[in-house]
Amino acid sequence: MYAFKYHKPSSIEDAAKVFSGADDARYLSGGHTLLPSMKLRLAGPSDIVDLSGIAGLKGIKVEADKVTIGAGTRHNDVALSAEVRAAIPALADLAGGIGDFQVRNRGTIGGSIANADPSADYPAAVVGLGATVHTNKRTIAGDDFFTGMFETALEDGEIVTAVSFPRPKRAAYMKFPNPASRYAVVGVMVAETASGMRVAVTGAAASVFRVAEMEQALASNFSPDAIAGVAVPADNLNSDIHAAADYRAHLVGVMAKRAVAKAAG
C-alpha cells in the first residue's frame, strides 16, 4: 500500500471540502473494492476521505410508497431488515446475496453504486426498481445513474447520500453467481412498478441494462412463458474465462424467467 492521508469528517460538507482540496482523493465507504486495490498497489490515492463517521448517511426509512436507504448503510442492514423485507422482499434478497457475510457487514449501498462494478448486484436494484439516487448536490434518476463500466453520472467529489426505491407491485431478483468471487455473472431484477414493467440486467455487460422486449412481453402477460422466446443478443455482452457472451446471454433469459416466476409467486 502506498502512503496516503486519512480523513474522517463528521459532515458531508466537510467531506466534500477535504476531497476538493486534495490532489487525488478517494471516498472510503465499505472499502471492499478500494482497500484491496490499494493493498495490491493498483490504486494509490493521496487522500482517503472516510465517510463512515457521517451519521446522516446511515439508516433505512420505510414509507408507504418507498424505501429510502442511506448511502452508508451496510448490505447486511438491508438484508436483515424486517421492514425492508416486508416492503420490498426482492431488495432484501439482493442485499443478502452480495459477497459473503463478512462482505455484507462492511460493504455499503452507496459505495457499491458509486463504484459501479459491472458485476455488482445493486445496480440491478437501482435500475430494475426505478430508484432515485440522492447526492449532496442533486437527485439522479436510477436509469441515468450508471453510464458505463465503473462509470456513473456522479461528478468529481459528488457524494451519494441515499437511494430511494419506490415500492413495486411485485419484484424478484435472481442471480447467477460467479462461483469464485460470488459476484454476479448475470443478475436480473424483474419488477412490476407503478411506472411500468422493468427488467434490469447486471453482470452481463459493461453496465446494467434494461431488456425492453421482455418488459413489453411481461406487461401483457406476467409469466415466465411470456419471455421464453425473447433472446438477448450476445453482442456487446461480457466474455471472460468464467462465461462467454453466449452463455451469459442464455443465462439472462434463464434468470429473468426464474425472477418472473418468483415475483409471480
Binding site: P179, Y183, V254
Partner: protein
C-alpha cells in the same frame, strides 16, 4: 483400552492454541534487528534480462538489493532436483540450472529477478518499484504438448525441444498382444487440470546469522526441515549441517507445496549474513499463485482392451506432464513413480504399459500436490473404466467388480512394479453401493427428471501407494534421498514423555495421534505426552511429512522406540523386583512379575532410570531415552470406493452434489475423528479440482486465475455432508497395521464427481473442471448432435 489410546476420538491437543490465535507461525516470529525482503518478480513468462539498475533503490534507502549476479559472484549453486529419472534409452533426464535469482533470463511470471531488503515490508515494496529492469520479451511455451512440438519456444538453451525426459514403465509387447486379441477397445483423452495448492498460510522464511557462533538459522514454512537443511546446506549454499538450523514451527497447511526447497529460503539465509541482520520474507497471496509449485497438468491418451466378457486384457497410457520452467525438488518423480505405478488401479489387468514425456514450459514449476501423481492415475483409470462400461453396455459397478483384484490374491504383484499387500476391494464397493442405495438410483433419477433436472451417479475405486518409503526401492528408482523416518522417545524422571519426531504436522494432528500411541503403549496420561517436531536443532534427522507417510512411517518409528523403552524398563523392573527379565510383563502402564503380586508403575521405573542408586552399572545403563529410524519393507496401500451422486440443472449447467459416499481402507486407525477430518478435506480438494479449480494461463504465459476472484476454491456450500465409513484391513508389513489417510480423499473424489456428471449428461468426454459453462456447452452440443 486406554480412553485416550489407539482408536479413541481424542480431541486435538493442538487446537487450543490454533483456535485461540496462539499458534506460532513463521510470520509470528520476529528477530532482533530484523529487516524485510521483497522479491522483485518477472512480469513476463519468458524474457532476456538486458539490464538491472538498482542505484535508485539503494539511494532511496534499501539495506541491500541483490541480483542474480550477486548470487553467482557468491558462488551459490542452483536449486537441486531430488529425483533422477532415466529416459527409455537409459540416458539421464535433462536438468537445466535453477538459479536462486535469475541471472540473464526469466522463465516464468514470478521468476525472481532481485531481492530488495529494507526496514519494513512496505518500504521494500516501494523500493522494489525503483529497481529498473530492462527486459527483452521472448515468445513463451505454455502448453506442455505444444512445447514438445518442433519450433516451440525454447525454455532452456541446453534442453533441446523442451523435453526433460521420455520415460516408460511396463512391457509394451504383451500389451500390444493383448490389444490384438481384444473384443473391444476403449480410448480416452483427458487433461488433468493444473491446480494452485493454496495452503491457508502463505509461505514465509526468516534467515538469521550469528557472527559469534557462525551459525545460520532458517525459520521456514516447511513440511520437512531436515530435507531443507540438507538440500540448502549441502547443495546450494555450502553450509555445514552443524552450523545450520532449520526450524519450521506451526505451519498452516502444505498439501505438498511446502515440501520443496524454494529459492526464497536460500536467499534469506545467505543474505542475512551479507547484510549482517535477520531477514524476514512472507509471501502475499498473489505472490503464492506465481511462486508456489503447482500441481497436476497432465495430458493423457489411454486405451483399454477388453474381452467379450468385459475382462480387462491390457491397458496402455501415454502422458505428457508439464514440469513448468524449472525442476522443483521432487517434480520429476510425480508423473513417473508416483503416477504410472498406480495405473493398475484395483484391477487385475494383466498387461500395462505407460509412457511419460515431461516438458519444460514458461509456467510456474509443477510438483507434488496432495495425492501427487496418484490422483492423476486414478482419474485416468476410473474414467476409462466408466467409459468402457458405457460403450459395452455394462453397469459401471458390475464391470469394476468383474475386474477387481480379489482379496484372496493378496499379496498381488501388478505389471507396473508395485506389490499390493492387502485390501478387500470388492467389499469397499459393496459397502459404498449399499450406503448410497445404488439400486434406488433409477427412482431418484426419475424424481429429478420430473423437476426438469438431470441426475447421475459416479463411482471411483482408488488405490494409492503411500507411506512414501522404502529407501531401497526409492533409491533403485532414482531418488537422491532415503525415505525412512525417525522418532526419539525421551522419558523424563517423573514419567512424563517427550516425543521427538522427524515427521512434521502442518494440520494433520500429530501432537494428538502420536500422543495416543504413547498413551496406549506406555499407559501414561495423554496430558503427560508432548510431541515435538519441526526443528533440526531438537529432533533426530527426519524426512518429514508428505505422501501420507507420517503415521505409516513416523508412527511406526515411534512404536519401535516405545518398544525399546518398554524393553529397557523391563530390565530396570526386573532389577528392582529381583526377578528374571523374562518373568516381567508390561501391561496397562505396569511392570508385573508373572505369577506374583509384585508390580511397579511405569513412572516408578522412569524415576529409577534417572536415580540409579543401586544399578549394576556394568549391566544396566541409567536413563530412559530411545531413538529409532524406521525404513519400511514396502509402500502402504490405502484404497477405497467413492460414490458421488449429482443433480444438474440443464438450463444453467450447474452441478449440485447431492450425496458423497466414501468407504476407505486405511488399515488400523489411531483417531477416527482425525481420519474423518482428513477424508473430508481430501474429498473437498478432489471436488475442487473436479468442479472449479483451474490454473489458466494465456498464450503469453500470464496466469489468468491468479486471485480468488478468478481461481475458484471449493466452498462449504458447494457440498453435502459426506457419508464416510471405513473397511479396515490392516497393513501386513508394519507394526501398527496402518496405511495412511492424508491423500485418499483427493485421490478418489475427482473421478467419482466427473463420472457422475458424465452419467447425468450422457456426455462422456466432459473435462475438469466441470464448470457450469462447460457442462451447459456439453449438454447443448450433445442435444445438437442428437438432433442431427
Amino acid at each position: 483400552m486406554n480412553e485416550n489410546g489407539i482408536g479413541a476420538r481424542v480431541r486435538r491437543k493442538e487446537d487450543k492454541r490454533f483456535i485461540t490465535g496462539r499458534g506460532n507461525y513463521t510470520d509470528d516470529i520476529n528477530r532482533h534487528g530484523q529487516t524485510h525482503a521483497v522479491f522483485l518478480r518477472s512480469p513476463h513468462a519468458h524474457a532476456r534480462i538486458v539490464s538491472i539498475d538498482t542505484k535508485a533503490a539503494m539511494a532511496a534507502g534499501a539495506v541491500a538489493v541483490l541480483t542474480g549476479k550477486d548470487v553467482a559472484d557468491a558462488g551459490i549453486n542452483g536449486l537441486p532436483c531430488g529425483w533422477l529419472i532415466h529416459n527409455k534409452d537409459g540416458s539421464p533426464m535433462k536438468e537445466p540450472g535453477h538459479p536462486v535469482i535469475a541471472l540473464d533470463r526469466v522463465r516464468h511470471v514470478g521468476d525472481i529477478v532481485a531481492m530488495v531488503i529494507a526496514e519494513s515490508k512496505n518500504q521494500a515494496k516501494d523500493l522494489a518499484e525503483l529497481v529498473e529492469v530492462d527486459y527483452e520479451v521472448l515468445p513463451a511455451a505454455v502448453n506442455a504438448v505444444e512445447a514438445l512440438k518442433p519450433g516451440a519456444p525454447q525454455v532452456h538453451d541446453d534442453v533441446e525441444g523442451n523435453l526433460c525426459y521420455d520415460w516408460h514403465l511396463g512391457e509394451k509387447d504383451p500389451v500390444d498382444a493383448a490389444f490384438a486379441q481384444a473384443a473391444h477397445v476403449t480410448k480416452l483423452d483427458v487433461y488433468n487440470n493444473r491446480l494452485a495448492p493454496n495452503a491457508m498460510e502463505p509461505r514465509a522464511a526468516i534467515g538469521e546469522y550469528d557472527r559469534a557462533t557462525g551459525e545460520h538459522t532458517l525459520y521456514t514454512t516447511s513440511q520437512n526441515p531436515h530435507v531443507i537443511r540438507l538440500l540448502m546446506g549441502a547443495f546450494v549454499l555450502g553450509l555445514p549441517e552443524h552450523k545450520l538450523r532449520v526450524v519450521s514451527p506451526d505451519v498452516g497447511g502444505g498439501f505438498g507445496s511446502k515440501i520443496f526447497h524454494y529459492a526464497e529460503e536460500a536467499a534469506v539465509t545467505w543474505a542475512a549474513k551479507v547484510v549482517g541482520r535477520p531477514i524476514k520474507w512472507n509471501s502475499d497471496r498473489s505472490e503464492a499463485f506465481i511462486s508456489d509449485a503447482q500441481g497436476r497438468d497432465h495430458h493423457t491418451h489411454a486405451e483399454l482392451a477388453l474381452d467379450n466378457d468385459g475382462k480387462f486384457l491390457g491397458f496402455r497410457v501415454s502422458t505428457t506432464a508439464n514440469m513448468g520452467a524449472y525442476l522443483s525438488t521432487f517434480s520429476t518423480s510425480i508423473p513417473t513413480y508416483l503416477y504410472a505405478t498406480l495405473l493398475a488401479g484395483l484391477y487385475a489387468t494383466p498387461a500395462i504399459y505407460a509412457e511419460v514425456k515431461a516438458a519444460f514450459t514458461n509456467t510456474v514449476p509443477v510438483d507434488a500436490y496432495r495425492g501427487a501423481g496418484r490422483p492423476e492415475a486414478c482419474f485416468v483409470v476410473e474414467s476409462i473404466v466408466d467409459k468402457a462400461a458405457r460403450e459395452t453396455g455394462r453397469d459401471p459397478a458390475a464391470l469394476r467388480k468383474l475386474n477387481l483384484i480379489p482379496a484372496s490374491a493378496m499379496p498381488y504383484q501388478t505389471p507396473v512394479a508395485l506389490q499390493y499387500d492387502s485390501g478387500d476391494f470388492v467389499k469397499n464397493i459393496d459397502d459404498a453401493l449399499k450406503v448410497i442405495d445404488y439400486d434406488g438410483f433409477p427412482a431418484r433419477c426419475d424424481a429429478s427428471k420430473k423437476k426438469g433436472m438431470l441426475r447421475g451417479i459416479g463411482l471411483s475405486s482408488y488405490i494409492e501407494a503411500c507411506g512414501i518409503a522404502p529407501s531401497t526401492v526409492a533409491g533403485a528408482l532414482g531418488a537422491r534421498a532415503g525415505l525412512y523416518e525417525s522418532a526419539e522417545v525421551r522419558v523424563h524422571p517423573t514419567g512424563s514423555v517427550t516425543v521427538f519426531t522427524g515427521s512434521h504436522s502442518h494440520g494433520q494432528g500429530h501432537e494428538t495421534t502420536f500422543a495416543q500411541i504413547v498413551c496406549e503403549r506406555l499407559g501414561v496420561p495423554i496430558e503427560n505426552v508432548e510431541v515435538v517436531h519441526g526443528d533440526t536443532g531438537k529432533i533426530p534427522f527426519g524426512m518429514g511429512t508428505y505422501g501420507s507417510r507420517s503415521l505409516a512411517v513416523g508412527g511406526v518409528a515411534l512404536h519401535n522406540s516405545l518398544e525399546k523403552v518398554i524393553a529397557k524398563g523391563r530390565k530396570i523392573a526386573a532389577h528392582m523386583m529381583e526377578a528374571a527379565e523374562t518373568d516381567v510383563e508390561f501391561k496397562d502402564g505396569h511392570y508385573r512379575v508373572a505369577g506374583t503380586d509384585k508390580e511397579l508403575a511405569f513412572g516408578a521405573i522412569a524415576l529409577q532410570a534417572y536415580v540409579p542408586h543401586n544399578f549394576p552399572h556394568d549391566e544396566l545403563e541409567p536413563g530412559l531415552d530411545e531413538t529409532s529410524f524406521y525404513d519400511p519393507k514396502n509402500f502402504t496401500y490405502p484404497n477405497g470406493c467413492h460414490i458421488c451422486e449429482v443433480e444438474i440443472d440443464p438450463d444453467t449447467g450447474v452441478t449440485r452434489i447431492e450425496r458423497f459416499v466414501a468407504v476407505d481402507d486405511f488399515g488400523n486407525i489411531i483417531n477416527p475423528m482425525i481420519v474423518e477430518g482428513q477424508v473430508h478435506g481430501g474429498i473437498m480438494q478432489g471436488i475442487g479440482q473436479a468442479l472449479c479449480e483451474d490454473c489458466i494461463y494465456d498464450e503469453s504465459g500470464q496466469l489468468l486465475t491468479g486471485s480468488y476472484m478468478d481461481y475458484c476454491m471449493p466452498k462449504a456450500d458447494m457440498v453435502p455432508f459426506y457419508e464416510v465409513g471405513t473397511n479396515v484391513v490392516p497393513c501386513t508389513h508394519n507394526a501398527l497395521g496402518v496405511k495412511g489417510a492424508g491423500e485418499a480423499g483427493t485421490i478418489g473424489a475427482a473421478a467419482a464427481v466427473i463420472n457422475a456428471i458424465r452419467h447425468a449428461t450422457g456426455v462422456g468426454d466432459i473435462q475438469m473442471p466441470a464448470t457450469s459453462q462447460r457442462v451447459w456447452q456439453a449438454i447443448n452440443a450433445s442435444a445438437a448432435q442428437a438432433a442431427e
